[in-house]
């Protein structure tokens, strides 16, 4: 009994498993990129859908800034119309982007504009941006203006020395938040229409308080020479001689 002859060993089929090299396999997270051909530019990355939020915020900030500047320069800006209209515009933009999903930031903008619009609605009438104490003393018909307005604070219209002569005048006074006081001459026949969205009204002895308060007085009885239309959003109206 001896060793197997070499020529028999070579003829015997191999019993050990052999490692076969197959095609290369890539990790699941990577995909082989098809290399660009020489002279060709690589394919651009897929375009990202632009979000309407930053655009909306930018437009809103610029628009509010421009309108506020104009208001400061004396141009009458109907904020009570502009703000609700902008809320509607944001709502329409959200509905339009509901399918694409490019609405990020618009909801926050809508919330801010809605709060401002509700504030403007709460104070009622044209929204003014002036704040503080303001006194208007009028002594002649030439000085008398048809409109007086103030944002927040105290507005006093002193007409005690007013001499209208034979003229008849109508004056509108508006205050968003605060106290409006009107002082009248002793003998002038005046018709007063005073409205408060929420607060108190006291006109020549007649008073009322609550929500949507309105007091109309003609004193003394007769054809009025001065008509006053007084409006306060939140606060108080006081008219006395």
């Amino acid at each position: 009994m001896g060793q197997e002859p070499p020529e028999d060993r070579a003829a015997r089929p191999p019993t050990e498993p052999t490692l076969e090299m197959g095609p290369p396999t890539w990790p699941a997270t990577e995909q082989p990129k098809e290399p660009a051909r020489p002279g060709e530019a690589p394919a651009p990355p897929p375009a990202r859908l632009a979000s309407a939020g930053p655009v909306g915020w930018g437009v809103a900030l610029v628009a509010v800034g421009v309108l506020w500047l104009l208001d400061t320069l004396g141009v009458r800006i109907p904020w009570e119309v502009v703000l609700p209209a902008s809320v509607v515009a944001v709502g329409v933009a959200l509905l339009a982007t509901a399918r694409t999903g490019a609405h990020r930031g618009l909801i926050g903008l809508g919330v801010v504009l809605t709060v401002l619009a509700l504030l403007a609605a709460a104070v009622g009438g044209p929204l003014r941006l002036t704040v503080g104490e303001r006194v208007e003393r009028v002594t002649s018909a030439q000085q008398l203006r048809p409109d007086y307005g103030h944002g927040a604070g105290t507005l006093t219209l002193d007409l005690r020395d007013l001499d209208l002569g034979a003229r008849t005048e109508t004056v509108r006074v508006g205050l968003n938040v605060g106290q409006l006081e009107v002082r009248l001459p002793d003998d002038l026949v005046v018709e007063v229409d005073a409205r408060v969205r929420a607060g108190e009204v006291e006109v020549l002895g007649r008073s009322g308080n609550g929500v949507n308060v309105r007091v109309q007085v003609t004193d003394p009885p007769g054809e009025p020479q001065l008509r006053l239309e007084l409006t306060v959003g939140l606060g108080q109206i006081q008219v006395r001689r």
Partner: protein
Amino acid sequence: MSERRFHTAPLVAGATFVVLGAALLLDALDLATIDPGVVWPLALIAAGIAVLARRAN
């Protein structure tokens, strides 16, 4: 088959803003009157709807 998928948050928030803004606009134009006592509860409801819509998205 085409995909028709709408995001809930902008749909709900957009509809809320359109309705609320239109109501405030009508009040500003004196075509309707909103009671001031109703304004702030409406504001809270609208804010709550917007928050819930964002969480549902």
